[in-house]
């Protein structure tokens, strides 16, 4: 059970129960859709939820972990308030996405895949965001930022921090 936050276990497990009754039809092929729903509800796949899922379905915990670690979509750790997705697709690569990543790692003082100390940002790489004609591209939340330069990328982050401070 989650011990770090103030939520009571009833509310914490409600999402789990809802997802199980919606998605579990007694088949192993339900596993990936269940994990996807769990992640979008909890933000990641908490250990105790995986244990509970195993007890409920009879699918071994090792097998669930096998699936969860195989697919890049699944996260076993919580992420920051916002996720910055830098496109590493081919079009973005040939237009210099590595330099964008370098600049943001330096600006935020984290590595790719890491979360800032203040928990504000997680930096992730993705393959093709689907707007190659705007390359290089990154996405923060639902907002897409195109035709980036290292400098522009740094400024966007600084502006987001500045806006956050005002609030």
């Amino acid at each position: 059970m989650c011990t770090k936050c103030c939520c009571d276990s009833g509310a914490y497990y409600k999402a789990f129960e809802d997802i199980m009754s919606e998605c579990y039809h007694g088949n192993e092929s339900d596993l990936i859709p269940i994990l996807q729903k769990l992640q979008s509800s909890y933000g990641y796949l908490p250990k105790d939820i995986i244990t509970r899922l195993s007890q409920r379905t009879g699918i071994f915990e090792t097998q669930i972990m096998g699936v969860a670690t195989f697919y890049s979509q699944f996260r076993l750790k919580p992420s920051g308030e916002r996720t910055i997705k830098i496109c590493f697709g081919t079009a973005c690569h040939v237009n210099g996405s590595e330099k964008i990543a370098d600049a943001l790692c330096d600006e935020l003082k984290i590595e790719m895949g890491g979360t800032t100390e203040d928990n504000k940002f997680t930096l992730e790489s993705v393959a093709c965001l689907g707007c190659c004609s705007l390359a290089p591209v990154m996405m923060i939340g639902d907002e897409t930022y195109g035709r980036l330069t290292p400098d522009k990328a740094r400024k966007i982050i600084r502006e987001l921090y500045a806006k956050g401070d005002q609030k």
Partner: protein, 589 residues
């Protein structure tokens, strides 16, 4: 007047939703204008997003490019209210020639016929442009064998990469007797930098459903799956809407169009694994397991999903089917070359002036796609190579630009037709770096089941990384070639078997670049960070301090109006100084 906004992923990324809001507001503020708004998918000209089409009462169409909220107001005022099109934003017009017309002149649209012309969320608009007519013809006037025959005669080959004749594949899947069969649409589109399938799903989902239904009828399946990347939320949303509408209209479900044919479709979302594009891995993934390929035989046609005979086709392959049945095999085979028929959709991207989605008849020379349609390089610098087929494909150099687009001709260059990703590169792109990029991708996507793919690609990546860092040795090239050969020969699935291709083609056409990295410790394209140095020319530097102000690591020093200097020990080679210098005083060597 009708205002149609292009809201494919590309349009939305470029700010399409804001433009839509602005038009909504303008329409509600001007109820007397008689303007209505609708949406459509990708119109193909991604380089001009956000795109907005205005169709007047006479049916004349004007398409505007690079629209933002301000331009939206001007278009509304001048064109919608005043009846006068805004010439300076126009990229295509049904009444007047436009300089952008050359983007369309050499295209032939079968798969994309409705994309960008209909509202993908309206089945009525699709029906008005012949959707499901092929299905009706197949179900009411043809036997499954006749459908297979027609597809065989059309010469359609799988568009997912391998290029296997679709009719043949259906024949194999029809043959086994079974109480249950499945037909699966592969919408995993794994090539990073390709977006053909996504655009079709977003722009005309009914074309894919129709192909899936006809395929199901042909092989004797009553259930279909669409395995779609989770990264394509808009495609998934529109597919769900399309399925619901098709069911309401009796194109899906029980006793379709009164013919006794039953068919249902489910969507499965992928979870981010390139290897799941491979047929047996995709099946494992639908079954809820790790997406690892298995040995074939048994082939999916005999033992596929849940152990039942199954057939897997790519999105674009299926989107061709309705057209072929409707118009006949001959009409389709009229396009193409002796051995490869029809058209192919390409996602043009990279250093290309007009990036976007294009559909061309097979047999067109690469030169026409890149220069006549694509407008050459975006930088204006010399065209160097085009990468086709993504991580399984290869780089075709400028010297082979007259190669025609056809499965056999492209294979002869060492590249492949692939699924349709076409990445253009100019002289600033380093070919060793490109090879390393793709190998890094395949290496991290290798499922790890077979040794050659898991460890072989890792060793190749290490060598390539070493070369780009200026630590390569003379033995590295022969070692790369040897590893490549072993990996191709001994890997279990297509991922490993094709992973060395980007390295092999760049070695074949750009060996001198590898050698420059190894022998001279130089990157001719000036891309590999370990091998380049930024320097300020004291004769050109006027001491404006702009570079020092912008340097993110503060490694540039100097006083005002005096030449500046870069501290090489601190420089991260980000290139900012060169980009901001107004006097061309910064050189890279």
């Amino acid at each position: 007047m009708k205002i149609i906004i292009g809201l494919g992923s590309c349009g939305i990324a470029a700010g399409g939703l804001k433009v839509k809001e602005e038009f909504s507001r303008l329409i509600s503020e001007n109820p007397g204008a008689g303007a209505a708004m609708s949406e459509t998918g990708c119109m193909g000209m991604c380089y001009k997003e956000v795109m907005v089409e205005v169709v007047d009462e006479a049916g004349n169409s004007t398409i505007y490019g690079e629209v933002n909220e301000e331009k939206a107001r001007k278009i509304f005022e001048s064109h919608v209210l005043g009846g006068k099109p805004v010439a300076e934003y126009t990229v295509r017009s049904s009444t007047e020639p436009n300089e952008q017309d050359s983007f369309f002149e050499k295209q032939r649209r079968i798969v994309l016929a409705r994309c960008g012309h209909i509202d993908p969320e309206s089945i009525d608009e699709a029906l008005a442009m012949d959707a499901y007519k092929g299905l009706e013809k197949a179900l009411k006037t043809m036997t499954p064998e006749q459908v297979i025959d027609e597809v065989l005669k059309s010469g359609l080959k799988g568009r997912g990469g391998a290029g296997f004749p679709t009719g043949q594949k259906w024949k194999f899947a029809r043959a086994p007797q079974s109480d249950k069969k499945y037909i699966i649409c592969n919408a995993d589109e794994g090539d990073p930098g390709a977006f053909m399938d996504r655009s079709v799903l977003e722009g005309d989902p009914h074309s894919v459903l129709e192909g899936l239904l006809i395929g199901g009828y042909a092989i004797g399946a009553d259930e279909g799956y669409i395995y779609c990347r989770a990264e394509y939320p808009i495609a998934i949303k529109r597919l769900n809407i399309a399925i619901k509408q098709a069911r309401e209209r009796g194109f899906l479900g029980e006793n379709i169009m009164g013919t006794g044919f039953n068919f249902n479709v489910k969507i499965k979302e992928g979870a981010g694994a390139f290897v799941c594009g491979e047929e047996t891995a995709l099946i494992a993934s639908i079954e809820g397991q790790r997406g690892m390929p298995r040995m074939r035989p048994p082939f999916p046609a005999n033992k596929g999903l849940f152990g039942k005979p199954s057939n897997i086709n790519n999105v674009e392959t299926l989107a061709n089917i309705g057209w072929i049945i409707r118009n006949g095999a001959e009409a389709f085979a009229a396009y193409g070359t002796a051995k490869s028929k029809g058209t192919k959709v390409f996602a043009l991207a990279g250093k290309i002036a007009r990036g976007g989605l294009v559909e061309v008849p097979i047999g067109i020379p690469l030169r026409e796609i890149i220069f006549d349609i694509g407008g050459g390089t975006s930088s204006g610098k010399a065209f160097k190579a085009v990468q086709m087929g993504g991580p399984s494909g290869g780089c075709i150099p400028a010297s082979l630009i007259d190669t025609v687009v056809d499965y056999e001709e492209l294979n002869a260059t060492g590249a492949i037709m692939g699924s349709g990703g076409m990445i253009v590169m100019d002289e600033d792109n380093c070919m060793v770096d490109i090879a390393r990029y793709f190998l890094n991708f395949t290496q991290s996507e290798s499922c790890g089941k077979c040794t050659y793919c898991r460890i072989g690609t890792k060793r190749m990546l290490e060598i390539l990384t070493r070369i780009t860092e200026g630590k390569g040795t003379e033995e590295d090239i022969p070692k790369l070639l040897e590893l490549a050969e072993q990996i191709k020969k001994n890997s279990l699935c297509g991922l490993g078997q094709t992973a060395p291709n980007p390295v092999l083609t760049t070695l074949r056409y750009f060996r001198d670049e590898y050698e420059a990295h190894i022998r001279d410790r130089k990157c001719p394209a000036k891309q590999c960070k370990s091998l380049i140095k930024y320097a300020i020319d004291p004769d050109k530097c006027v001491g404006c301090t702009l570079c020092a102000k912008n340097c993110p690591v503060k490694c540039i020093s100097g006083s005002v109006k005096k030449p500046h200097e870069i501290d090489q020990t601190l420089c991260t080679k980000c290139g900012t100084c060169k980009a901001v210098c107004k006097f061309g005083a910064i050189s890279v060597d």
